[in-house]
C-alpha cells in the first residue's frame, strides 16, 4: 500500500505542481485578498496575517487540485485497476491527498514573500507560529476539503459544484477575521472547522487550540477513509460506475 500511496503523491505533484490554475489558486487569489485586507489596516505583516492569507491560497489550491486529480482518475479509468489491486482505492486517495497538501504549501512562502515586499514585515514576526501554523493549516484544509473525495468518487461530477466551497470555507475558517466578526448564526459553526482552531493558536491562543485542530483533522481523515471503503464496497457489490 505504501509504495502505491507514494507513487500517487508523486504523480500528483509531478502533473499539477505548476499548472496555471493551481498557481492562480495558490498565489493570485490570496494576493487579491491581501490587498482587500490591507485597505482596512495599515500595519506590517504579522504571523497571523501571513498564515491567514496563505490559508486562502491553500484552500483554493486544495479544492482545485483535488477536483482535477480525482476527476482525472475517473476520466483515465484508472480507478478500476486500483480497485482490483490488494490495497483498493485507499492508497490512491491517501497519496493524492498527501500530494495535494504538499502542493498547497507553496502558498506559505509564496504569500509571505509578496506580503513582505509590499507591506513590510512586523519586527515581532513570530516565525514558529507562522511555520507550524502554516503546516497545521495545510493538514486541516486538506482534511476538510478531502471529504469531497467521497462525492467525487461516488457520484457523477457536476461541473461547478465545488465553486461555492471557497466562499463558505473562507468565512468559516476565520482566516482573515475572528469568528466573532461573522454573522451570529455562523459563529458556532466556525468552531467545527479545524482551521478556526489553527487560526486561534496562530493569533496567540493556547496549544490546546492546535491539539483540537489536529484531533478534528484526524477524525475527518478517518471519515474520509471509511467513506472511500464505502465507495469500494458499492463498486464491488452494486457495480456503480467509477468513470466519468
Amino acid at each position: 500500500m505504501f509504495p502505491t500511496a507514494c507513487r500517487a503523491a508523486i504523480d500528483q505533484i509531478r502533473t499539477q505542481a505548476v499548472s496555471p490554475m493551481s498557481l492562480l489558486a495558490a498565489l493570485a487569489m490570496p494576493a487579491v485578498f491581501a490587498f482587500i485586507l490591507y485597505s482596512h489596516t495599515a500595519t506590517h505583516t504579522d504571523a497571523a496575517t501571513a498564515v491567514g492569507i496563505a490559508g486562502i491560497g491553500m484552500l483554493n489550491a486544495v479544492i482545485v487540485d483535488l477536483l482535477v486529480s480525482l476527476s482525472g482518475e475517473k476520466r483515465w479509468k484508472t480507478l478500476y485497476p486500483a480497485l482490483s489491486s490488494p490495497g483498493g482505492l485507499i492508497p490512491l486517495v491517501v497519496g493524492r491527498l498527501v500530494g495535494v497538501a504538499v502542493q498547497s504549501l507553496i502558498s506559505l512562502p509564496g504569500t509571505l514573500l509578496m506580503l513582505t515586499l509590499i507591506w513590510g514585515m512586523s519586527p515581532n514576526f513570530d516565525w514558529s507560529r507562522w511555520f507550524l501554523g502554516g503546516l497545521c493549516l495545510a493538514v486541516a484544509t486538506t482534511a476538510l476539503v478531502g471529504l469531497l473525495s467521497y462525492s467525487l468518487l461516488r457520484f457523477p461530477s457536476s461541473p461547478g459544484m465545488t465553486n461555492g466551497l471557497t466562499g463558505v470555507l473562507i468565512a468559516l475558517s476565520t482566516l482573515l477575521v475572528p469568528s466573532t466578526a461573522l454573522p451570529p448564526f455562523m459563529q458556532p459553526i466556525a468552531w467545527l472547522v479545524p482551521q478556526s482552531h489553527v487560526m486561534a493558536w496562530v493569533h496567540g491562543g493556547a496549544v490546546a487550540e492546535l491539539a483540537t485542530a489536529l484531533s478534528q483533522s484526524t477524525l475527518i481523515y478517518l471519515v474520509i477513509l471509511l467513506s472511500v471503503r464505502r465507495v469500494e464496497h458499492a463498486a464491488r457489490a452494486r457495480a456503480i460506475p467509477l468513470e466519468a
Binding site: 492562480l24 487579491v32 489596516t41 459544484m161 465553486n163 461555492g164 463558505v168
Partner: protein, 242 residues
Amino acid sequence: MDNHVVRGALLSYRALFTWSNPLGYLSSRIVRPIGLTVTFGALSSHYGAVVGPTLIGASLLAGAHAVIYGMALSVGNERSYGTLDIWLASPQNKLGAVCQRALPHLVDAFISGMITYLACCALFGVLPLPAQTFAWLLVLSLISSFGYGTMVSGLSMTIKDVFVPPNLTYLTLMVLSGALVQADMLPGPVRSVSAVFPLSHVMQGIEEPDVLGAVGGEAAVGLLWFTVGALVIHRAVLHARR
C-alpha cells in the same frame, strides 16, 4: 426581441454553460457570492468600517462574476467540446454571437446579485440601500460588466485554459473596481487605472451621489471594454482563419 436571438441565446446556455446543473448553479451563482460577501462584510465590521458599502460592492461583484464567467464559458467550452474550429470557420458574426450568448448570463447575473445583496443584508441585519435602488445600480454595473465580459470572451478564444481568462480578469476587478478596495487606498500608479474598470463609477456614485456621473461613467467604461473586446475577437478570428 427577435425569437431567433432568444432561441440562440438559450441554446448556447444549455449547450455551453456547464454550470447550469442544479448543484453547479447553486454553488457558483448563489453560495459562492454569499460566502465571499459575508467574508468581506465581516472584514469591514471587524476593522470598524461601515459594512453597507462593502455589502453593496460585493453584491455588485457577484453580478459581474456571473457575467464574466458565463461569457467566458460560453466561448471557452467550444474548445472543450472540440467545436471551436468549426464555429470560427462558420460565417456567423462572432461578435454578434458573443453578445447573443451573453443574454442569459445577464439575467443570471441580476438574479445572483440581488439574492446575494438581500441574503447578506439579512445576515448582517442592515439595509444600506432599498432593494429597488440596488437593482438599478446592479443593472448599471451589468452594462459595464457586459463590455468587460466581451473582452474576456475574446481572450477565451485564444487562451487554451478555459478558466485562466475569467479568473485573472475577475481577480483584477476585485482589487481595481473600487467595490472592495476604495480607489484612494490603492497604490499611486494603480489608482488612476481604477476608473476604467467596471463598477468603479457606481461605487464612486454611492460615496458622492452623482447619478449622471455614475451612468455616464459606467456606460463609457462598458463601451471602452466592448471596443477592446471586439478588437480581440476580430484578431482571434483572423488568426484562426490564417
